[in-house]
Symmetry: C2
Subunit: 228 residues, 2 copies
DNA sequence: CGCGGCTTTGATGTTCATCAAGTAAAGTGG
DNA sequence: CCACTTTACTTGATGAACATCAAAGCCGCG
């Protein structure tokens, strides 16, 4: 029964099932599970067996690794429509990073074996999948280079602009990450994040009210992001 | 004519054509071009149109980006059997990074449209492709996190061990990168690389003779790499 | 209500970048 | 093939950027 499932209008379809035959689409629709997560809840952890292919339907999640001393490194933030499963999903049996929600989120889960067998039967689908997975991995790599080449001020400006322009598309937003998580994302210390936030506030580049941030001077922040 | 091409024993076959029907394999064998590069020669540049899928048959190449001030950032070093084309190859029309040889290298080039149409016809092939591309992208992301979390000494130790253990599998090797390139790879300055090399030499952890390096005390280097 | 985690600020110190200068090596043109 | 230029390498001196350590206020939660 095509279109009988509740995801007929799901973004997931337009996002990457465009090339899909309806019968297969409905198989996926019937078999997928939707799971809701509250902030700080874990979707999966490093080392967990790869059982599902994950897709973020709504909300915001962080991908991260924890080292032996318990320090986290945030790899990236995934927004709605993003695949939470990266490329390793088809080549690895265990996850090489952890995922947890940083906002109320809904994740679609499709059995990985099911995904594989469908991909093997439908090469158009697997090409689409490859393109989308490729785009995400590329984005992570490029972003990591962008962050790496900046000094602390540039890193903070970059991340503020990312949240404002890319994620929330609004000059006012609620920062979904703690100061510590920001630090873990851009590779500086929590204190430095706070100090630079304060400087930006004193220079009237941003307004801060707890987690609420407003970008007041985007132009100057762009400059700081570009030229440190 | 299966097996009529000169790459019957090519690593490329065992590497990812295992699932390939012979007739298609020979199409690829017939159509591929092998190009040899000397150190410092460019395979392709940021912004170039994606025309080929590239595979490293032998040698060593670097993937890197150049910013507006002309400073390079090395993304990774590709070894034989590695795909030089990353995942973006199917989703992007222009390369987002540059590639140049750092040793005498031979690169196999296959028309990208040809690859795409074959992948669309053969889903087993496209799955294989996806797995391999995924593994490489994952490796780049993981390595970048590893480097990021270390201090300067740890970074240098890490990179020395990478060359020794992973790339050359030998405690003596000729460093294929200049001091500057090492710096561009791990995100510190050239002077710091040199200084830390000198310290390691004075502490008898390594022996340096120009480009020739010998790892003398792997154990201590491992410790420095792990604990900074 | 008290404990632990998050945030903030200040004082201090280390690490590493920057600047400068000199040597060695490698490419370039007459 | 040699003078010349350029690039790579090396060391030292200096300072800025950022981490670390310490302490206190704040908030949420059991």
């Amino acid at each position: 029964m095509p279109n009988s499932c509740n995801c007929t209008n799901c973004e997931l379809r337009s996002a990457f099932f465009e090339s899909f035959k309806e019968v297969q689409q409905s198989i996926i629709c019937d078999e997928k599970i939707e799971v809701a997560y509250s902030p700080s809840q874990t979707v999966f952890k490093v080392g967990d067996t790869v059982k599902y292919f994950f897709y973020l339907k709504s909300g915001l999640v962080k991908l991260f690794k924890t080292d032996r001393e318990g320090n986290d490194q945030i790899i990236t933030i995934a927004s709605p429509f993003d695949f939470v499963s990266l490329l390793g999903v088809f080549s690895e049996t265990h996850h090489s990073y952890s995922v947890s929600a940083i906002e109320d989120s809904v994740v679609c889960c499709i059995g990985i074996d099911r995904m594989k067998s469908i991909a093997q039967q439908n090469s158009l689908f697997s090409m689409n999948l490859m393109e989308r997975l490729g785009a995400i991995s590329n984005k992570i790599i490029q972003e990591s280079l962008e962050i790496r080449k900046r000094n602390a001020h540039g890193k903070v400006a970059y991340i503020l602009l990312k949240f404002s322009e890319e994620i929330y598309q609004n000059s006012v937003f609620n920062l979904p990450l703690s100061r510590r998580e920001i630090a873990e994302y851009i590779g500086i210390t929590t204190e430095s994040v706070i100090r630079i936030f304060s400087e930006f506030r004193k220079e009237k580049l941003i307004r801060i009210n707890g987690k609420e941030i407003e970008i007041l001077n985007e132009e100057t922040l762009e400059k700081i992001s570009k030229y440190g």
